[in-house]
Symmetry: C2
Subunit: 186 residues, 2 copies
């Protein structure tokens, strides 16, 4: 049992979402998830701290999509343009994942603890973006506020993206919402 | 024991903060808090669902400060100006509460569950502001994004306000941060 299970993390995440949709989040146990994935509970706990975390990817790799794009933006790009580039890259990374994201969104909407966790994920993304902007020499307060704008835009775009039954281009949507946000602030 | 205790809520909140500062949040029990306030655990649970909630005021009354100000803004005020008026009113409502807010902030920073709860409070404030703007006839997406701008500005202003040892004018600071946010979005 101790050996590495290839793809265990993804198999557990998919099995968990299936069960949450079928039976509800609260009625599903870690034992159920492991059984559905054909793995042991021990393997589950090697991948995830608890049942809640199975719905939340690795924050390092999620935030890393945004922060790498910010680091790679042209040296003369303004802070908000670097953030727009990050939203595009992050939006593209969700291509083909609409059905999964939509089901996941419905499960999260059904449970307060999951909504809280989703908020915390957003907070950490804001911090990561602010940090990436600071590394480009953007002053602290501007980095923080620009990061907030980026996170708000991505979060709102994501909400609209999973609201629709058909998959649209999340990258384009995120940049459009960022423009709407700029208009609201004008 | 069953009778109404005048000021019980405030006494419990102050006793709780004292103990959290002295002993740490996790080491303090509801029994400790009730004893420090000279009240019973039963009275505590009549006021608060659990230990965590003692640090979070009544959301109806907190959000109501913002939403009432938005409702009372001049009919021709633009959405973001109505929000600026709300930040001013809300900022004024914290006058004299700097020492408490600063201690509370330190306790919240010490515990992940409290940080999550603080994020949820922010989420609910955003929803309440968006709702208040919708009632003024602001279209849904604009109401949502303008509300996000207001919440970001107030949250950031609050963080700066409690960072400083001396009390400054939170209302003025919130409006200034909103201006910085508009600049970051420009």
């Amino acid at each position: 049992m101790g050996r590495w299970q290839p793809g265990a993390r993804d198999r557990l995440a998919l099995a968990a979402l299936e069960l949450f949709v079928e039976r509800g989040y609260e009625a599903t146990t870690v034992a159920d998830i492991a059984a559905r994935a054909g793995l042991t509970e021990r393997t589950f706990y090697r991948q995830f701290v608890d049942k809640r975390e199975v719905l939340f990817g690795d924050p390092q790799s999620y935030n890393g999509i945004f922060t790498a794009a910010i680091a790679n933006a042209p040296a003369n790009a303004r802070p908000l343009d670097a953030v727009a580039a990050a939203l595009t890259t992050a939006g593209d990374s969700f291509a083909g994942k609409h059905a999964y994201a939509r089901q996941r969104g419905a499960v999260i909407a059904s449970n307060t603890a999951l909504q809280e966790r989703e908020q915390v994920k957003r907070l950490h993304l804001t911090d990561a973006i602010a940090d990436a902007l600071s590394k480009r020499g953007v002053p602290g307060p501007t980095a923080q506020l620009t990061a907030e704008l980026g996170t708000v835009a991505f979060h709102q775009a994501f909400a609209r993206w999973i609201e629709a039954e058909d998959e649209s281009d999340l990258a384009k949507l995120a940049v459009r919402v960022l423009d709407e946000l700029r208009e609201a602030a004008a």
